[in-house]
């Protein structure tokens, strides 16, 4: 069984970004970049399936500028066998990403595609579902448990108010939620080995995909800030303030 894992290079999760002075976006100069945390979970899940003898090959794929290859190397250090780099600079909208990935799915014919449920930059939460639709595959989004059994993927999902289990015919799309696993750290020998693993270079043109955009960002603004309020000295004072000052308690 072959698993495709699309990943994304994003601002590191520990960085608090600032809106750019010209309000066209956020300031990404000299900001630490990493693999999107949900994508790390996707890589980990695919690698575990390979370690269990269920998967035979794990292929990482990313869409981005030259530097996005760093995250492919990370994915290979974590256990992916090979990678595909689709070179494309600038912001690519979720639908265009899904179309590029669809072209890769048609070429590689994976049995399973595992993606992060959302990237922590755009916070869109769309690509997995869109890819599933374009490939006419079933989807198990927000997965916290994945079992491959009798040619199907049994996916336990995080839903509002609890959990849901669905059974999907393969090939299928799974998107990862936080509890699915705890990703490992890459070991130095594996990082060295990853440098020798193959990265195939592609472009939207070689994949025959026209990257379109129908959303125009008019401005990016700082949200209304909150400032620190007052410190109270006791539970009694707190209740008093909530009742008579904030008036949020009867």
């Amino acid at each position: 069984m072959k698993i495709l894992v699309p990943i994304k290079r994003v601002v590191d999760a520990n960085i608090k970004v600032r809106v750019a002075a010209d309000n066209t976006g956020v300031d990404l100069n000299n900001v630490k970049m990493s693999m999107n945390p949900f994508c790390e979970i996707a890589v980990e899940e695919a690698v575990r399936l390979k370690e269990q003898g269920i998967a035979t090959e794990v292929i990482a794929v990313t869409i981005g500028e030259d530097k996005a290859q760093e995250q492919l190397r990370t994915a290979m250090a974590l256990g992916a066998d090979r990678s595909i780099w689709i070179e494309k600079s600038g912001v690519v909208e979720p639908l265009a990403i899904a179309k590029l990935l669809q072209a890769v799915v048609e070429k590689e014919a994976p049995d399973l595609v595992i993606l992060g449920k959302q990237s922590i930059d755009g916070d869109n939460n769309q690509v997995g579902q869109m890819l599933a639709a374009l490939c006419d595959m079933p989807q198990g989004t927000f997965a916290f448990k994945l079992v491959i059994q009798d040619g199907r993927a049994i996916v336990s999902r995080e839903v509002d108010g609890g959990e849901q289990v669905v059974s999907l015919a393969l090939p299928a799309i799974v998107t990862t939620d936080l509890r699915l696993n705890e990703p490992r750290y890459a070991k130095l020998p594996d990082i060295m080995k990853a440098k020798k693993k193959p990265v195939e270079h592609m472009t939207p043109e070689t994949l025959g995909v026209t990257v379109k955009s129908s959303l125009k960002t008019l401005s990016v603004d700082e949200p209304k800030g909150r400032s620190a309020g007052v410190m109270v000295g006791s539970a009694g004072e707190l209740v008093e303030k909530l009742r008579h000052e904030a008036k949020v308690l009867p």
Partner: protein, 309 residues
């Protein structure tokens, strides 16, 4: 041209977040229709018909829609989408699961998690965990939108009732099957719509200690939330997680207990009207957004608060 809202429901009752989506939809066009897809869900359709501004309710009542699987509902929406300028759903796990599928097959973008409507084609949405707000303009013929329901007030229910029109399309597919679900049966209000939320973090120390928090919540009639750290530590289920990738809440009062205040947590609650932070670490970032801060041992404060209320 009218706009369509997808009702959020469990076949028995209509989730009030639907009223917030109707509110957002009404800012795009005055003609708002609601789709209720499920089985044995006439009562849900009747409830949706009472919302002010709703002119028609489409009722797709068939066992194939029982679990509202996205693979099934997408076919239904594609069958009726020609009639609409926009399709909206709550940015709940249900809406997020379904609408990108519909958008992809209509070959249009989805605009996720909107918090404001500037015009029929211009919307505001948070990016980077809410550290920035993007104003985006769509040139698509049909807008596919998920709505951050905490940013819109639920529309009121009126005397009049909208027409309920049955849909007879039956969509079947076999690639995806429902197996089971396990939904919490709490007496407490739902996180998404609660007026007061009491949330706990790693400072609680254990699942048992979370009961202290629950007692306070019950005294206040509040919903219970948690930080990711508390979920990761196994104190509570993930469905209580408040944050960038969990629930986004904006109650009248948010009480954060033993929560340090990571960026990802603040993203889920910083639009609350009044924020209270209780933490024994005076340097915790949560105090920077709190209206009222109390540096204290939460194990001492929680019983005191409960006694005072």
């Amino acid at each position: 041209m009218s706009v369509l809202v997808i009702a959020e429901h469990n076949n028995l009752t209509l989730n009030p977040v639907t009223g917030s989506v109707i509110s957002a939809a009404g800012l795009i066009d005055s003609e708002v229709h609601v789709l209720v897809a499920g089985t044995g869900c006439q009562a849900v359709a009747a409830a949706a018909a009472q919302y002010q501004g709703v002119t028609k309710v489409l009722l797709a009542d068939n066992p194939v829609y029982e679990h509202q699987l996205p693979e099934t509902l997408t076919g239904l929406l594609l069958a009726i989408s020609d009639d609409y300028a926009a399709i909206l759903a709550a940015a709940s796990t249900g809406g997020k699961n379904l609408l990108p599928r519909v958008a992809a097959l209509l070959d249009v973008a989805q605009i996720s998690d909107i918090v404001d409507v500037h015009s029929a084609n211009t919307f505001v949405r948070p990016i980077y965990a809410g550290n920035a707000l993007a104003t985006v303009e769509s040139s698509d013929a049909i807008k596919i939108i998920t709505v951050r329901t905490s940013a819109f007030d639920e529309v009121e229910k009126g005397e009049a009732s909208a027409l309920i029109e049955p849909l007879d399309q039956v969509i079947t597919q076999h690639k995806s099957q429902f197996v089971s679900e396990n939904l919490s049966t709490s007496e407490r209000p739902e996180l998404a719509g609660a007026a007061i939320v009491v949330s706990g973090g790693r400072g609680l120390g254990s699942a048992e200690n979370f009961h202290l928090l629950e007692k306070l919540a019950d005294k206040l009639g509040a919903a219970v939330g948690a930080s990711r750290a508390a979920v990761d530590a196994g104190y509570v289920g993930n469905d209580l997680q408040v944050g960038q990738t969990g629930k986004i809440v904006a109650p009248d009062l948010y009480i954060a207990v033993g929560i340090s205040g990571a960026i990802q947590h603040l993203a889920g609650m910083k639009d609350s009207k009044v924020i209270v932070a209780i933490n024994n670490d005076a340097d915790a970032p949560i105090f920077q957004v709190a209206d009222y801060g109390l540096v204290a041992d939460l194990f001492q404060v929680l019983p005191e608060l409960e006694a005072l209320l």
